[in-house]
Symmetry: C2
């Protein structure tokens, strides 16, 4: 007698459980009424709009049943990531069958009435979306946009040594770039201190209307590909449910045994060798167990099963009978009792309590979230005895702070820094005094800061950095992504999805808030003078502010003390996306720590020491003094150029009253009705006046300032300079000149708006234009900026 | 005696040629003067700012020398794509040595003076960038942003059966998602009708500060990985130049022989089998031939050689001697004559004329560009006897037009349609009456429209679609990318780079203009009601308009005839990025073809048949009649809702004078100083008045309209509705309600801005609010929109 993994009884029970989940899935797509088919199906039982994706669903149902078995058998802590998340009926069906759904949504009870509601709500106005959406317990991955399931899964298991993420990768999704690169994440996973990702590549065969690439290469190539990626693929292929149940059970037993072996060996070993983790390649028919053929068109195992196979029972009455046959093929009377409750011998197959994948707390990470222990950021302050002292580069002061965040975090182990390959380049090298880059590839003697475990994650894929970080945050930890400003656009679309996830989950009471996703864009547009035009794009902010104001924050600290204050705030915050743009090159420092803290807390304010309109830092807006001109700035380089311009104007036109306003928190500019940080109109008017010219030097594209301020009283007087897509390899100062953001242009802009400066103004304007010519000649001759630019300091004359 | 590929003479000559290119590369990075080292090096000979990337350069120089040999030997048409394009000195050095550089830039002559200028200009203000930038002949790929070299290469060879693209893929770049997926492009290449990509994976070992993944996996895994991807990898590994020359020459001979075999066999065979194309894996030291060690730190073969190895000769005088040793190690006197000219026996190694990779016309595709033969789009018109007739879905009328573009293009074979998997879903299924999807994977009986050659390219990777199309356009052909609107953000960053390329090349006289990159975003935000929130994002337009106005165009045709007119225009245009947003679902049609043509030519205009302010289509702005209200709209769904709102207002408030303005060409809204399409202020005022309320229903995020119009006279009266990040699975009409863009909200917005409507207005407002409640109740009960919404037609009452 052949030894099998499953007894005949087990196999029968599991097959029934699978049929139950398939029945519920078809029910969700189609049924408005008659949930247990207690009477013949009639047209009125069918929903009017039929929306959903059947194709991937039965395969995912199959996987879930089998994962339940190994969870119970080995008492595993496992969560389920549905790459083809559009097969939402699968995760909804299973979390309902295992009981988690009804616990969270008591009205979706485990009886006939609950079943009916379960069916009705799916893809219905006021109901639930058709994807593995945030509303579904157990989901950390919506799956609407394809490509990120594997990165999310790896992010989830970092520092979660007991967790296994079963990650279903669709063969459509597998064609995307982010997914194709994510297989290499195994070169970063530590078998002792991290958990395990068990990828299940689901060769469903088809996309919407095409076969998939991986389903149409030879078995040999497929095996080579995944062995080349460093995995040990276990194949499960077929369409006969009985044979497939046995094969899948055996494959999972093998995989779990390999995982246990790897972890045990690693924990016992002194030396580190990257293991070859198991994965499963499951080839099963798309639309498995669905209609074989409709109107002469083959459905099962073709792309025609992608969405709703019988889509118009109203127009084609014969489809009604087909649908009824299909539903009855699962024999619901063998699955549910007359009250609509799953039979107890089937219910017993699901794990219990928090072992259920829908109830595993890792999939609702906010409930596990602990505050990040932070050192006092004031201890890392740069001394600023007088505004304009030269700093070493703002992020270089942040580095030691982050290093000590890591230090304080040794026990909790819930903080990581992610980036393509730029942690040192971005000025955060101090981190490596405390930790290393986690790397499980081979090492060589000349390598630096690589170790099998560490707090810094570097892979030259912004997609992986973002995906890992998202997975890490979604499972209740903290992190930071440092990136070149221009190339953060690579993950625009991933940001979209995460921001949408945050918006929805904030509205779901049982979803606990998670830590914010923090971006540090340290290699920014104004200091890409040596990389040139391709590295210059400050538009990520524009992209970010299109998302719901409840979840997005943008900070442009003008110096290192402000950066420290802002980053401390971001690391404490919850459920936002925080974008912080800061410099890494030596740059002047403006505010001592006390002043910086007050300034950042306000988010925007007058800098009285730079102004001569006799205002203080504007705490009392009633008593504000008159001014002739507002010179506003946001961002480190624009702040420097603004102050230099103010210094020129004050020297040459001493009677002019000038107010300098600096913006750290960009969202302050929006109306308070549009963003929770927005200034009231009164407060805005107090700063920017109701009628005086405003010259605004901005870090990014100028139109963004107009977009944020168009409703303000004095908007028509706001003149903005910023990046206008001009740039090449040149000097740092010339980058500002090419974009009219330099001190000379800013001063000219001011004079142009101040007719009262008359002949004196005209004379100064001539001098400024001469300066611009002088600059051009100097740099083309010497290849560097004029000494008076390189050595300019606030309060000195000509850089003395 | 061992038979070798290279004779001793050949090897010596090639090694000298390599040394010449290395010498020129180091010279470009460092030297301001003394280009031939005719006297000892002094500090004044060195540039003040040292900028560039040495690490990748010698390896690329090595590759280029060897490619020259096989080009000559086999008379190949080959171009060079530099994935690690930041090694700009390599391509500049080689195009200079082969003579193409001086032909294009005569001042960079082939003598000492020219050498000096060549060195000085590199990474210098007013000079050339440090990447394989557009200024460099032979480049179609700047390489600033990593990940797209292989996709560009495949795009370049489609329909270019004689062309071979030698594509150097850096091992850093190979970690990115887009590159990891691009290896699968071989499943789409036809060996008869397409050219060949010869990938050269350059295992340089390190990124900026890290080893690379592919350099740190075993030889076995590496080979499996690329065999799994379907390639036949040929390994060239080592650091001894002599051995490496021989190995590389042998590898390239093998590769060329395999390529010839494959092409010959394919051309002779009746049946199709996907071939296993050769590729080369070159493992050579990073910074090869550079300093071994500086200040005790190993440089060659470590990441420390990434940029400028001796970066401060001024601060460290001993570095000056090291630099001189390094330069002299190439023995320039054995390479150049005393006049600074490459010795003739070396110059003879380069191919001649257009066979030189810097002179191959495919790398300046505009010179090969032929107009796309187009049928008369008017022949595909939808009959619109009266505004509001129901259409079958706008893109469904575009499909037959595109089908016939393909038909007329059979001989020229220079047009392709790209998309992830959505050509049919996007309404362009008519294409398959004429052509098929090109696919060289295996096929099965239930597949549809797959063939080894075809005009439609579908891979579920927006990155590949974009990269292929860019490569196709850059080599002088035409194309269209159809994509879901939300997911086009996946290629935001690729769009950035292409737009930057277009901007720069437009300014380079010898670069001929190429065809525009055309996006058709047919599955747009307002009809993702069945996919839900994750599929809703109209922000790509915002992203696009940040780029230079000279190169970007955005069109929102309100119906099918306008779409035909717009697409005809886009396919004829040159050197733009055109974004066209259009619907695919059945929708009302407004303009007959003649009217549509006029409307699209104007880009914006009054719709007199929908207005009651007695204006014509506004050709004479002097005689414009007064109005009380402007109802503006842009996009198909906003146009429908605006017309429905106007119809309500006209019925209930018949004395109100209403003007309907429709915007097809979004850039018309910008000031003429900002965009070449921008309306003059007078023309804008004529349309939008100077003081009347404007309710603007917009397809995308409302703030974009404010951003484009904030300088206009009447801006403070423009009230915009658009997508505000509200959406889920619901009915199509409810999507507009959730975002306040529906007819009822628009009418309320109008009344709120028209106090003169008094009690009548208040009464109507109450009615409208009741309608909104009725709508909500209806859809939650029935799951579909009220009949009066579903059947509403312009000119009828309540959908009669």
């Amino acid at each position: 007698m052949q030894v099998t993994t499953l007894t005949a009884d087990q196999l029968d029970l599991m097959d029934r459980y699978w049929r139950a989940s398939n029945y519920l899935s078809v029910g969700q797509i189609y049924l408005h009424d008659n949930p247990l088919l207690t009477r013949p199906l009639v047209l009125e039982d069918i929903k009017k709009m039929l929306l959903g994706h059947w194709g991937t669903t039965p395969g995912q149902n199959f996987i879930y049943v089998h994962l339940n078995r190994i969870i119970k058998q080995h008492d595993l802590s496992m969560i389920y990531v549905s790459g083809p998340g559009h097969g939402g009926p699968a995760v909804v069906s299973h979390t309902y069958l295992e009981g988690t759904y009804s616990e969270i949504y008591p009205e979706i009870s485990q009886d006939t009435a609950g079943l009916q509601k379960l069916f009705q709500q799916f893809s219905f106005p006021g109901g639930i979306p058709s994807h593995a959406s945030p509303e579904c317990p157990g989901s950390i991955h919506e799956g609407g946009e394809l490509g990120y399931s594997l990165s999310h899964s790896f992010g989830a298991v970092f520092d979660n040594p007991e967790l296994i993420v079963a990650c279903v990768v669709g063969d459509g999704e597998a064609e995307t770039g982010p997914l194709a690169a994510a297989w290499h994440s195994n070169k970063f996973l530590n078998p002792v201190s991290d958990g395990v990702v068990l990828p299940i590549l689901h060769l469903n065969g088809y996309k919407i209307a095409n076969p998939t690439i991986l389903a149409r290469i030879s078995h040999e190539e497929l095996e080579q590909l995944f062995r080349g990626y460093g995995w040990n693929p276990i194949f499960v292929e077929g369409d006969d449910p009985k044979l497939m149940h046995e094969a899948m059970a055996t494959a999972l037993d093998t995989a779990v045994a390999e995982i246990k072996d790897i972890k045990l060996n690693a924990s016992r070993s002194d030396t580190f060798t990257r293991p070859r983790w198991p994965m499963i390649i499951l080839r099963s028919p798309k639309g498995w167990t669905g209609p074989k053929e409709v109107d002469g068109v083959p459905i099962e195992d073709t792309f025609h099963s992608h969405q709703v196979p019988l889509s118009h029972p109203a127009k084609h009455p014969e489809h009604l009978a087909l649908l009824e046959d299909w539903l009855r093929s699962y024999r619901p009377q063998e699955l549910f009792d007359s009250a609509g409750r799953l039979l107890p011998e089937l219910a017993a197959l699901a794990p219990e309590g928090k072992r259920r994948m829908g109830a595993n707390p890792h999939a609702n990470g906010g409930v596990l979230l602990e505050d990040l222990p932070l050192p006092d950021y004031r201890d890392y302050a740069c001394e600023v005895a007088t505004p304009g002292v030269q700093g070493i580069g703002d992020t270089h002061l942040l580095g030691p702070f982050l290093r000590d965040v890591v230090k304080l975090n040794e026990a909790l182990c819930n903080f990581r820094v992610f980036g393509p390959d730029e942690t040192i380049s971005n000025g955060l090298g101090a981190l490596f005094e405390m930790t290393e880059r986690q790397w499980t590839g081979t090492t060589q003697s000349n390598d630096e800061y690589l170790a099998p475990s560490g707090r810094v994650m570097e892979m030259l894929s912004e997609h992986q950095c973002q995906g890992w970080l998202e997975g890490y945050l979604l499972t209740g930890r903290h992190g930071l992504f440092n990136c070149y400003e221009a190339f953060i656009h690579i993950i625009d679309s991933m940001f979209n999805q995460h921001a949408k996830w945050l918006k929805i989950t904030a509205e779901i009471p049982w979803r606990a808030k998670i830590a914010s996703l923090n971006y540090l864009l340290a290699s920014h547009v104004w200091r890409q003078d040596h990389n040139g035009f391709s590295h210059q794009d400050p538009g990520f902010i524009d992209h970010v502010v299109n998302k719901k104001s409840e979840v997005v924050r943008v900070y442009l600290p003008p110096d290192a003390n402000c950066l420290l204050s802002v980053m401390d705030h971001c690391l404490r915050s919850r459920h936002y996306v925080n974008v912080v743009v800061a410099g890494k090159h030596p740059a002047p420092q403006w505010l001592d720590m006390d002043t910086a803290v007050k300034h950042c807390r306000a988010g925007i304010g007058i800098w009285p020491w730079a102004s001569n309109d006799e205002n203080g830092p504007l705490e009392d807006t009633d008593s504000i003094a008159e001014t002739d001109l507002v010179m506003a700035c946001s961002g480190d380089v624009p702040t420097l150029e603004t102050l230099a311009a103010v210094s020129i104007l004050r020297e040459h036109l001493p009677s002019l009253k000038i107010r300098v306003v600096n913006v750290v928190d960009l969202m302050k500019l929006q109306p308070e009705a549009e963003h929770p940080h927005g200034l009231s109109d009164d407060a805005f008017d107090a700063l920017f006046t109701q009628d005086k010219p405003v010259v605004f030097a901005f870090h990014a594209y100028p139109s963004l300032i107009h977009k944020l301020t168009y409703r303000r009283t004095n908007h028509h007087n706001i003149h903005v300079r910023g990046y206008k897509e001009e740039g090449t390899i040149t000097t740092p100062f010339d980058m500002t000149v090419l974009n009219d953001l330099d001190r000379f242009h800013l001063a000219i802009d001011a004079i142009d708006r101040l007719p009262q400066t008359g002949a004196e103004g005209a004379k100064l304007k001539q001098w400024l234009n001469d300066k611009l010519l002088e600059h051009r000649q100097y740099i083309t001759q010497y290849g560097e900026d004029m000494p008076e630019i390189r050595h300019w300091r606030w309060g000195s004359k000509d850089g003395e």
